[in-house]
């Protein structure tokens, strides 16, 4: 009897819980209005009075979310007086300072958002207020970017849609709308040539010219909703998100500490920031393009290390180029290049690893890796030479064979002629 009572109790609690959750979800969802007949949209369209930036492809419009979900009012009423009455909750267009909270009504509520995307983040508004944009907005700055500045108000598209303002390829242009405005940026004592610099950089070329979506856009280094310029200490972490080994090597050296003490900007100190160019081997060493000589001078230990590293790298690079030239010749001659190709891949890998090891500032480590690469390159070059020699051996062999065949043909020809002569006699 007692057991049965417990069972009933458990069922009751479970059902009540589920029912309760359901009710609370319904309560949360009441912000979103998807009426069968949306009079806001139909009347505004009929009167040619839709917002200027309105797009039929807007993500909210596609999800059948009524204008009233953001602006309030009663979309079921065809009477403007009733539909847009403050008593029906109509709020109209939000003020600039209120926009993040306005969007956050839904976007900060996981119960609402999970209906559309089960794993969507809902901390955008929270992050926004930690950003420079958010802080300034709270301080009453009317110029800073809010949600609609980047996403637009009525033509919002998912970030993966190539037409979206926040699609990776479009992000630099979107940020540049404000950050490229020199008048506006003057007020904040900021430069306005970032896009120009970025476009020339290795990242900008990869993203904007080669359409490589893996290349970083502005938000990949600065963050998006929590946008903030990386500080001196965090810069190597920002770059290290992608350039993991370089960051690990650099951070484990004494150089990292020295940089911090000197207030140097980690990676940026040698590579620059927006205009980061494809690094060259000449950046190391003691030549005119060297970054090492900015701090080190002849006679000190760093200067000698830089010289050694540069020499090791150059040796490997030269051996690799020699082997690669032979490899191309083998390919051109149509000989067997498979094994040489594999070896050169390994040699190239060693070259890349050696270049990464520069960030240890340890000439022994770089030297050991370049030695591996040189050995592989030499092996490849040897194999390539063998194939080139084989190519000529085949042709010479053919020439000799043809000569022999020609002799046989001549002998046969005279034999036949001889026979014919005898037969005619």
């Amino acid at each position: 009897m007692r057991t049965r009572f417990f069972h009933v109790l458990i069922y009751f609690i479970t059902i009540s819980f589920l029912f309760g959750v359901n009710v609370s979800a319904q309560k949360e969802n009441k912000t979103i209005q998807s009426p069968k007949e949306d009079h806001c949209y139909s009347c505004h369209k009929e009167n040619d009075n839709l917002p200027k930036d309105f797009s039929e492809n807007d993500i909210h419009h596609h999800a059948n979310i009524s204008c009233s979900s953001c602006h309030g009012g009663d979309p079921t009423s065809g009477d403007q007086e009733i539909a847009m009455s403050p008593s029906k909750g109509f709020v109209g267009a939000p003020k600039h300072k209120d926009i993040p909270k306005f969007c956050g009504k839904c976007h900060s509520n996981i119960n609402i958002m999970r209906v559309f995307q089960p794993r969507i983040a809902t901390d955008q508004v929270e992050q926004y207020y930690t950003s420079i944009h958010g802080k300034k907005l709270l301080a009453g700055d009317g110029n800073v970017a809010e949600c609609a500045s980047c996403h637009s108000a009525h033509a919002i598209l998912p970030a993966k849609d190539p037409r979206s303002t926040v699609y990776a390829l479009n992000v630099p242009g979107t940020c540049n709308k404000c950050h490229g405005n020199s008048e506006l940026m003057k007020k904040y004592n900021l430069p306005s040539n970032q896009l120009e610099e970025y476009s020339k950089s290795v990242h900008g070329v990869a993203l904007l010219k080669m359409k490589d979506l893996g290349a970083p856009a502005c938000n990949d280094c600065h963050g998006n909703h929590g946008a903030m310029p990386p500080g001196v200490t965090s810069i190597s972490h920002v770059c290290g998100t992608c350039h993991v080994s370089n960051m690990e090597y650099f951070n484990s050296t004494g150089m990292a500490k020295a940089f911090e003490e000197q207030d140097f900007h980690g990676c940026e100190q040698c590579h620059g920031n927006h205009a980061v160019l494809k690094p060259t081997d000449e950046m190391i060493g003691v030549g005119k393009d060297s970054k090492c000589v900015d701090c080190h001078s002849s006679g000190d230990e760093g200067y000698a290390v830089a010289e050694k590293i540069y020499s090791s790298l150059t040796n490997l690079k030269n051996q690799f180029s020699l082997a690669d030239a032979k490899y191309l010749e083998v390919k051109k001659k149509g000989m067997n290049d498979v094994e040489i190709g594999f070896l050169l891949q390994d040699a190239k890998q060693a070259l890349i690893q050696s270049r990464t090891l520069i960030h240890t500032f340890d000439s022994t480590k770089v030297g050991a890796k370049t030695k591996d690469g040189i050995e592989i390159s030499n092996k490849a070059a040897l194999l390539a030479q063998k194939e080139i020699d084989e190519y000529y051996t085949r042709r010479n062999g053919f020439a000799v064979a043809t000569l022999v065949f020609l002799l046989v043909v001549i002998v046969l020809y005279f034999k036949i002629k001889d026979k014919e002569k005898k037969a005619n006699k």
Binding site: G334, N336, V338, R394, R395, F398, A401, T402, F405, V408, V409, L412, Y413, K415, I416, K419, E420, A423
Partner: protein, 360 residues
């Protein structure tokens, strides 16, 4: 010295096995000499290329490993690692193509000189069968490297077989060793290429050669009509044989040249799940049939166009084999006799369709 030694061996054999009939035949066999004598050499070149195929095929067999996981790799091994493997494989591929080319030339030269007429009907029939098996050699050998192009060409080729009513579908499944072209097809084609075909081929080729040796070379009409004293002959042995040898040496040199300067690509390994590569086409000697089937409309009357095409080529091949038994009335007023005209149309059709096939 060498001659003496050779004579000694021949006498040794003759003493035991009495080869005088063979010696007599060689001694008395004559070959007519006239303005079209050059066509007599085409059969010899075809035979020579067959021998090249046989020898290079045996050498390839030493390294070739059939099977989905091994075939492509073993051919790549042959052309990259095995000493002279590249030469043997390329000579085998080139020789196969030249063999078909010379077989066609030989066949049409026989046709236009009417050498198939009585009493040589069976020489023609066995020759035609040998040609059909040569094409089968080509078709089965094409798949053996198990590369992309061969894989899809075999798929298309066996699909065409499946079009034939009643026996088509079972024949297709028999050829493929299942519903689709798989490793089972490769094993099957390998067996067909190196065991079944050579066995049958040898029988018909032997018959074909025996018939030729028994009946001697055909004399064309204009030669037959010459007065006896104007008819010129050369002994088959050694005169004609020497000329044959001369030509074979030149053909062999050309073969090596082609193998060295125009090696056959191996391409990518066959992948059943990959998209069909561009430019899938059968070997050139099937191109005229393939192109004709492509040009046919989807439906002709109540029959499918492709089916009609396949049936037509099947029937045409059969009629072609029976050419010696077809009697067409001689028309003295016609500049070109009806059968010759048909032959010219057939050659033109094959050439034009092949060219279109490569251009389109």
């Amino acid at each position: 010295m060498t001659g003496n030694f050779g004579n000694k061996i021949i006498s040794w054999i003759d003493e035991r096995y009495d080869i005088s009939p063979l010696k007599n035949m060689l001694k008395h066999k004559k070959v007519p000499v006239h303005k079209h004598s050059m066509w007599y050499y085409m059969g010899g070149v075809t035979l020579f290329l067959f021998v090249v195929q046989l020898l290079t095929g045996i050498l390839l067999l030493l390294y070739y490993r059939p099977g989905e996981d091994n075939a492509y790799e073993s051919v790549r091994f042959i052309v990259t690692e095995v000493r002279f493997g590249w030469l043997i494989r390329n000579v085998h591929s080139w020789s196969a193509n030249l063999l078909v080319l010379f077989a066609f030339i030989h066949m049409f030269s026989v046709f236009f000189s009417k050498a198939y007429e009585k009493p040589r009907e069976l020489t023609w029939v066995t020759g035609f069968i040998v040609l059909v098996f040569t094409l089968a050699f080509g078709f089965s050998g094409y798949l053996l490297p198990w590369n992309e192009l061969a894989y899809f060409a075999t798929k298309v080729g066996t699909d065409i077989v499946g079009v034939v009513p009643v026996i088509g579908e079972p024949l297709k499944i028999f050829l493929r060793g299942g519903e689709d072209v798989t490793g089972a097809t490769l094993s099957r084609f390998f067996g067909i290429h190196v065991a079944i075909l050579p066995a049958i081929f040898t029988v018909f080729l032997t018959l074909h050669l025996l018939f030729i040796q028994r009946q001697g070379m055909h004399e064309p009409e204009h030669f037959k009509n010459l007065p006896e004293e104007k008819k010129k002959y050369i002994p088959f042995f050694p005169d004609f044989a020497l000329k044959d040898l001369l030509l074979w040496v030149i053909v062999f040199n050309v073969l090596i040249f082609l193998a060295l300067y125009f090696p056959w690509e191996l391409g990518n390994k066959a992948d059943a799940f990959a998209a069909a590569p561009a430019g899938i086409r059968p070997e050139w000697y099937f191109m005229f049939m393939f192109q004709s089937l492509k040009l046919l409309p989807a439906h002709i009357l109540f029959l499918e166009g492709e089916l009609l095409g396949v049936l037509f080529f099947g029937a045409a091949g059969f009629v072609w084999m029976l050419v010696p038994y077809i009697k067409v009335k001689h028309r003295p007023n016609w500049k070109i006799q009806p059968l010759t005209l048909i032959g010219i149309i057939i050659v033109a059709f094959i050439v034009i369709m092949t060219v279109i096939g490569y251009l389109v």
